[in-house]
Symmetry: C2
Subunit: 162 residues, 2 copies
DNA sequence: ACTGAAAATCTAACATG
DNA sequence: CATGTTAGATTTTCAGT
């Protein structure tokens, strides 16, 4: 992992569909060299995937909430996490320090769906209580913490409500 | 936005580098047709970008925290959000209902860096107090809430600590 | 909107320095 | 590790339906 790798990674975080030729031009390497480096970054687990980012409202998921999960005294964290993973509404799941065992991000279409999703969360074995924070708007999300810029065909920026 | 679009979107969420030919095979269209549809999805803002996902530890960001931001009585939310956006450590920023104005996700290398980042957060004009929840492990993150599967060259799954 | 075809470009593998 | 080459795949455009 040298400076070139970091440049390549930064570029792929901004535009995950950048071609190897593009990346090569940007960092001053041949496409072949970039191809090889990216292959290694993938196989060593530095790059874990490539994903299209979709406006949640456009796919009917306009309601977002952050939910803290308080476990019962006898709860098994791994079992609870596995159960959380079975709910499609749960997009992300973090084990955290503090009174709560997990904080999860939930995305649903309506507040009715949120109510139902919270019901399902509370019904999970090992879950004692939930604490829900409704997201009013997403100011920005998943931002590359490296300096960002435009890369040809990128479709940024992400600044949407909820 | 018909069923075909939704299929294409789901596939691109799983593998953002899927080729148009792949997608066409998967949904039963020619590569040209898929190309045209994806172009429309991008220009209408349904697809907002494509991003490589990187193991945070591999890029020296092994410490994650969720931070609630309590505003002062006179704070301007938009100004505070803009200031939060200027800190590279702040990866995501949600305006929320409740006592706190925002919840942000912060990624840094060490707990020392976390302390410094929290200092910077508190020094933002309009920020009265912060409440920090340290992430112990990321069980899963940014999961497509649509049914997922393998698509050729995808590099999943994401199951990393912190 | 989709198909099919053609030109430009890119990927992926390999031989080489 | 990087480069250059090359065959095959892919992107992109466009005429036709």
């Amino acid at each position: 992992m040298d400076a070139l790798d970091r440049q390549i990674i930064a570029a792929l975080r901004v535009n995950g569909r950048a071609t190897y030729a593009d990346l090569g031009r940007k960092v001053g390497l041949s496409a072949s060299a970039v191809h090889e480096r990216v292959g290694k970054l993938e196989s060593t687990g530095v790059i874990t995937g490539y994903h299209a980012v979709v406006d949640p409202r456009a796919v009917g998921l306009g309601v977002t909430a952050l939910v803290g999960i308080q476990p019962t005294d006898t709860a098994d964290d791994n079992e609870v996490a596995a159960s959380l993973g079975e709910l499609v509404e749960v997009e992300s799941c973090y084990a955290v320090a503090g009174e709560e065992a997990f904080v999860v991000k939930v995305r649903v279409a309506t507040v009715d769906d949120l109510e139902q999703a919270l019901g399902r969360l509370r019904r999970i074995s090992g879950v004692a209580r939930t604490r829900t924070t409704v997201v009013l708007s997403t100011r920005f999300e998943g931002r590359p913490n490296s300096p960002e810029e435009d890369l040809g065909h990128a479709v940024e920026p992400p600044t949407q409500g909820a």
